[in-house]
Symmetry: C2
């Protein structure tokens, strides 16, 4: 692919710390603006590494992430390598599967491979002549006033540079953020949820996916749940979310089996009895943290983006998407203030903090919704009402999930609008309910009913409600 | 003073990091239990130092703090050196002063001098033969698994020790806590409020206090406020709390004067025009932080107490009291588990976290109440209703401030009970109000009223309500 056109001959040095998803994408954004971009990654190059350690293997890419990829010309390529998921597929205890669509017909999220996406982004960043990737460079020290940075290479030698802008994209446990913590008036919180997660693989069956591939499969079990996302190699990655104490209670292969027989019986033959007994003990359950902070910048020298600024729990599928959107938002503000960092950085904090805090809260909220509410009749009824009203009044009523996943509506505005809609809809349902009871009583009193007819009408209405989601 | 009786011949080493209020008091508690107590303080001995840097000079000592001092035989001495404050004294804009009592007759909080209290606690700790105070010892490194610690002395030499228990009492910016932050599943938040504070001195007038001494004076002005606490030398320490941007708007002596003329006119002659113009610029406004975390311990080796575990904003006067109560709670759990640290530390976290989080939230709540609600008629009415009901039913209805300040009711239980009481009282007021309106309408209809009589009755009732607070 051709490197995009390079603006003017600016020579300011941007040091991007972290060569993960957001760091690599950000390198492309800054390269497009004509900066001298240096990416520093403490680990080796994942494209050549033999063993890649690290996080969950698949991610849900949606509109915000795609918009950012489009900006650097990568959207089509990445989308073509992902697997569309049009709906959640809810697995009941008795094995029944029911889909709940994510949005309207044609709307879907994509299951993408984290490692592959990261590799492509790194390769794309390298196509810019004004970008250099420095692997095996561990940040040792840096100065937020001068921009001086010292890195230690794998062989123990040191490299010193002077950056005009330091961009901390070094993840949930960011080293850059540590220096923010030492400064006064930096607000910070890290909250670990009581649940851990564990990944299990569901192999292909007769050369094909063991379950329907175009769904995000969910086994909601109130205090815990399992989900499964499809991979290109026709496997599914199953992720079990459960309180740590429950993980710790299971200590033998037979107990794993007993647990799955009780809660996920339909998954046992698909994962395989022996694999299940063994994989469960391969790695301990991993912790999940939600990080919020403010401000995101120090003077005109340093800014935090991606998980370094706002790690979220994974239950809204927005972690990567929010991080990618950070890059667009920063880029838009750079346009607005003509690359004047002393204006851009405070504005970025002002604009982005409320949105990141909103998505962090939403993800925490969905942490309960996904494993518990999804089972409730009222929740399903409200989902259908929301979708139906969205179908009738597409501009007035937009389901929260749609705003978050399929638009770039600012996260905090999506939440505000959702609260407003909820008030209106609940009030509407209340009045409809009251009206129906009063009207029904009146009609019953006036004309003895034809019960069969009423029954059929209600069913037809209900089916129409259902179909607004799927078709 | 005689060192208290020493229990048995345990030789376990307790390293108390921090020789501030909670560290020094804790040293006494551990010494009483027979441990080999080593206190490490990074600064020099404040009892011999020429210049003492640091925090606000006065504090409000109340029941929880006094209980802890009593435990080490210091209550009477410290109380005799404090100045009782029986009520808040609200200063209106027009100079009118109105008292709002803190509790029942005879209940008061004490204005105490921070430096003096700290000195007395250090001297008390030194009376125990099994306690050593190490000043000018800065913590360089420590190991939460082994208890190995390295300190650097003022002359650059190092001291290494092996502690059985490390007690982090090193304040809101605790170094010990930094290592907790590096561990997984440690929940942490630090929140700076938008307000800063600045201290100004009100000198004595004709050799006596310039205002009534047995009050905590408050000038509530909605978005900001000033308070004043009496000192033994007949001065008052005035503390101005205001958003940082308002502090920054004032840049000249004349602007200070203008600001005070607008909002605190009665304080100008008492502080003095020249002093005011000058003192305002002596130090910049200081930040205030609220810190919450959990757990408080690592294995059986390390525990956080006082501000290191729960820095609170100063608006409930409970920071020191909560820290002192930490020492009693820990001591009680040590009794319960026979000094078995592997049991004591997790239990301390389990018991104390909800209480410390509750007082942190209450202090944040009072941050609004003190500067804003205190001006509202409804707030004053509810205070009197609460006090009146407490007078009628002393066991059923206890005002929140009373539970927090004059009892050792666990903070989180005080909050729960307060919420319950509020529900009951508001419901009661609603029914009384409805009843009164209905009853009144009926009576008015039946008998035309003698307006004078009604007026007198209401006033008498109101006065009785008022007096339940003050007498």
């Amino acid at each position: 692919m051709e490197p995009a056109e390079i603006k003017s001959e600016k020579k300011k040095v941007v040091a991007v710390v972290g060569g993960g998803l957001v760091g690599a994408l950000n390198a492309c954004f800054f390269a497009k603006r004509g900066f001298d971009v240096q990416v520093y990654e403490s680990r080796e190059d994942i494209r050549t590494a033999k063993v890649v350690k690290g996080r969950s293997i698949n991610l849900a890419l949606s509109h915000r992430g795609r918009s950012a990829l489009k900006h650097v010309g990568l959207e089509e390529k990445i989308v073509s390598q992902g697997i569309p998921m049009h709906a959640r597929m809810i697995h009941s205890l008795n094995g029944k599967q029911s889909p709940i669509p994510y949005g309207k017909k044609g709307q879907f999220i994509l299951s993408v491979d984290r490692a592959n996406l990261n590799k492509q982004l790194l390769t794309e960043a390298e196509t810019y002549p004004n970008t250099k990737l420095n692997f095996d460079h561990k940040l040792q020290d840096w100065n937020a006033e001068t921009g001086a940075m010292t890195f230690v290479r794998a062989d123990g030698t040191k490299q010193q540079i002077l950056a005009d802008l330091i961009v901390g994209c070094d993840g949930a446990f960011s080293s850059i953020r540590k220096q923010f913590l030492r400064r006064s008036r930096f607000n910070y919180s890290q909250t670990y949820i009581p649940h851990g997660y564990m990944e299990l693989t569901m192999p292909p069956r007769d050369g094909d996916f063991a379950m329907k591939p175009n769904y995000l499969h969910i086994w909601p079990r109130n205090t815990f749940m399992m989900i499964a996302l499809p991979n290109l190699d026709k496997t599914f990655t199953c992720t079990l979310f459960m309180p740590f104490e429950n993980f710790e209670e299971i200590t033998t292969g037979d107990e794993v089996l007993e647990f799955f027989q009780k809660y996920f019986p339909d998954a046992i033959p698909l994962i395989g009895v022996e694999a299940l007994k063994c994989d469960y003990f391969r790695l301990p359950a991993q912790a999940m943290v939600s990080v919020k902070c403010s401000p995101y910048h120090i003077a005109d020298k340093c800014v935090l983006m991606g998980d370094a600024a706002h790690a979220v729990v994974p239950f809204y599928g927005q972690g990567m998407n929010a991080g990618f959107e950070d890059c667009i938002v920063f880029d838009e503000i750079m346009d607005q203030f003509n690359d004047d960092l002393s204006e851009v950085l405070p504005e970025y904090t002002r604009v982005r903090v409320p949105d990141d805090h909103a998505i962090a809260d939403l993800a925490m909220y969905n942490y309960i919704e996904m494993r518990a509410h999804v089972n409730s009749k009222w929740f399903l009824f409200r989902k259908y009402v929301d979708n139906f009203l969205h179908f009738l009044m597409p501009r007035t009523i937009v389901p929260l999930y749609t705003m978050v996943t399929f638009t770039r509506t600012r996260y905090h505005q999506a939440v505000e609008r959702w609260q407003w809609q909820n008030k209106v809809i609940n009030r509407g349902l209340f009045f409809c309910g009251t009206g129906a009871v009063l009207g029904g009583s009146y009609l019953l009193f006036k004309n003895p009913p034809n019960v069969d007819k009423i029954h059929i009408d209600v069913e037809k209405m209900w089916n129409r409600l259902l179909s607004t989601g799927t078709s």
